[in-house]
């Protein structure tokens, strides 16, 4: 059975790095481990030897570590191919709305990532799959994407247009919608609606498949261990709190919170030796104030949530090789053993 860890959090807090570090550590502890990542920093991709769109590939020098990168655009096409008849899939992929939907529908990248990651979990080739979530607005949408996707395909609009009848080649407008449709025609120009409707009817044929898959993916999320990465800054912290409020209804509640870029609290109370250079003394007092602010934010967080809380020190340069990634977790304080 494949265990999974989903690493999530706001953008820019270093969650891709933490996901990679968790994977390296697990692999070195003897578990066959796959890390699935989305658009990592180039230096990190370089560290892992990854290329975009690649199938899982072994990381050189690490016999038990594999990496894969999600390519949202091609995964989205794979979804159409998997769940629609070949002719319909061709028409869908060729449609101007298809590309637009895959770019503009915010959940689509997340859904594609979730579907691909779930595929690796089903495959059974690994003991542990570590999933890094897309750097979307929040990260929570990664977990809601499957149900949003089946809603989209389920087609509020299509039901409205056709009154719920499954369409023949030429669809029938719902009588109740007619005044609206006349108005929409005026506003949007004629025939746009028909083109949209054709697209939606094609998309609708994938509904059963997508809904079933969405339920399976949600099942995976409920069995996964969730790690929330944050910094002590207000915006990422507010995002982290959302995971505690909203995640339990969708996936397993967070099992570990990681405060990245942590400063030592002793900087807050240290006094410079006599005759210390003035600029250096000022520098310590500035960073000491930062350290104090971080400690206060962590204490405030811990007073509300009892989840284990680990810290990773602020390292100026992102890790550029596998050893540096493994080392990151050795530097962490209050780290816990993760499943897998």
């Amino acid at each position: 059975m494949t265990n999974s860890i989903v690493v999530t959090g706001a953008g820019g807090v270093g969650k891709t790095t933490v996901a990679a570090a968790v994977a390296v550590r697990s692999a070195r502890a003897g578990k066959r481990t796959l890390v699935v990542t989305v658009d990592p920093a180039r230096r990190l991709a370089g560290a892992l030897g990854l290329e975009l769109g690649s199938e899982p590939r072994q990381i050189s020098g690490e016999p038990r570590l594999w990496g894969a990168m999600v390519d949202a655009a091609s995964s989205w096409q794979a979804v159409a191919r998997k769940h629609a008849d070949p002719a319909v899939a061709d028409r869908l992929i060729g449609s101007e709305f298809f590309l637009a939907a895959s770019v503009h529908f915010p959940a689509s990248q997340s859904y594609a990532a979730a579907e691909q990651a779930a595929g690796y979990m089903d495959e059974g080739s690994w003991d542990l799959v570590v999933v890094d979530t897309p750097p979307a607005a929040g990260g929570i949408e990664f977990f809601t994407a499957p149900s949003q996707m089946s809603d989209l395909v389920g087609g509020t609009l299509l039901r409205l247009l056709t009154g719920g009848r499954l369409p023949g080649r030429r669809f029938l407008f719902n009588r109740g919608a007619k005044p609206l449709l006349r108005f929409a025609d005026q506003l949007l120009g004629s025939d746009l609606l028909e083109r949209v409707a054709q697209f939606l009817m094609d998309l609708r044929t994938t509904y059963d498949g997508v809904r079933r898959r969405a339920e399976e993916i949600e099942g995976h999320f409920r069995r996964s261990f969730t790690v929330v990465v944050t910094t002590a800054d207000p915006a990422p912290l507010a995002e982290a709190i959302r995971f505690f409020r909203e995640l339990p209804s969708i996936a397993s509640p967070p099992g570990l919170v990681v405060f990245n870029r942590s400063l030592p609290l002793r900087w807050a109370t240290a006094t410079p030796a006599p005759r210390t250079n003035l600029a250096l003394a000022e520098n310590l007092s500035r960073w000491g104030a930062e350290a104090q602010r971080q400690a206060d934010a962590q204490a405030e967080f811990a007073s509300h949530y009892q989840t284990p809380l680990a810290t990773i020190p602020w390292v100026p340069q992102a890790p550029t090789d596998v050893d540096a990634l493994a080392n990151l977790i050795d530097l962490a304080e209050n780290w816990i053993d993760l499943p897998g």
């Binding site: 706001a10 503009h104 607005a137 800054d233 207000p234 104030a289 100026p316």
Partner: protein, 282 residues
């Protein structure tokens, strides 16, 4: 240096770079210079309200101080306003169900939803009720879709009223005297790369006429070669390493303007005020 002279500033940046703080600072600094300002939270994330030191913003603009107004875009209210005022929704349609249905349609027809949101920002600019409109916009990942909306509409919709509106919207967006895109970044790899890619795309597609890049949270240089000892030395080493790292990214993407890293405990309101000070400073 004084703030930009345009009538519309569209502020965007990768998530987490402090774009709401910069948007609030730009609004505050233009207001101090005597201009009447409307600040709009386009994403409805609430970040802008916090940086003005208030709990939340509503769709109806609120006057925070004489001449400084702020609002947030509520998509369904913007849509109803759009359908009534701009699109001339016929009386035969009851409003809420029509808006719901139109929203569903807008979800499938690309560009329609965005044109309603962007349209609100552009209408407020065009109305000239304010000297300046500052839009705290979506993160860079989504702002391209927003700015592309008028051309998307023009491509997909051959006729119809919305198409005519898309044309003046494009014109206003591209007018370098009227509109500036402010891209906020940090001096770090991911924000710099994302800013470069976003800008290249927008320039390539001719979706923006005037822009500036603002690097936020830039560390000051430590003007001494001394090393110190104990915690003093540790803090100096971290500072120098981070400073060196930042300078590399600033060289790669030279900003038009840098804003300082603010140390210690500050409320979002204080952050915006300090950034506004530094904007007005030398």
């Amino acid at each position: 240096m004084s703030p930009p002279t345009q009538r519309l500033l569209i502020v965007s940046g990768k998530g987490g770079v402090g774009k709401s703080a910069v948007a609030a600072a730009l609004a505050a600094s233009a207001h101090r210079a005597g201009r009447s300002v409307l600040a709009i939270d386009v994403a409805g994330s609430g970040g802008l309200a916090a940086h003005f030191g208030i709990g939340s913003l509503a769709f109806a603009p609120r006057e925070l101080r004489p001449g400084l107004h702020a609002m947030s875009i509520d998509r369904s209210k913007a849509l109803i306003e759009y359908l009534q005022v701009q699109a001339g929704l016929p009386g035969i349609l009851t409003l809420a169900p029509a808006a719901r249905a139109f929203d569903a349609l807008a979800g499938a027809a690309p560009g329609v939803r965005e044109i309603v949101t962007l349209g609100k920002v552009l209408w407020e600019t065009r109305s000239r009720r304010y000297d300046l409109v500052v839009a705290d916009c979506l993160p860079t990942g989504q702002v391209t879709g927003l700015l592309r909306a008028p051309s998307t509409i023009a491509e997909l919709v051959p006729t119809g009223r919305i198409r005519q509106q898309a044309e003046w919207m494009s014109d206003l967006l591209l007018d370098p005297v009227a509109t500036q895109l402010v891209l906020v970044t940090l001096a770090e790899e991911l924000p710099v790369v994302e800013t470069e890619e976003t800008l290249a795309y927008l320039l390539d597609e001719k979706l923006v006429g005037n822009h500036q890049i603002v690097a936020n949270r830039v560390l000051p240089e430590l003007r001494t070669a001394a090393a110190g000892s104990g915690e003093v030395a540790e803090a100096a080493a971290l500072h120098r390493a981070l400073y060196g790292e930042q300078q590399q990214w600033l060289e790669r993407l030279p900003p038009d303007r840098t804003l300082p890293y603010l140390f210690g405990l500050l409320t979002p309101g204080e952050v915006a005020a300090r950034l506004a000070d530094s904007w007005a400073g030398p």
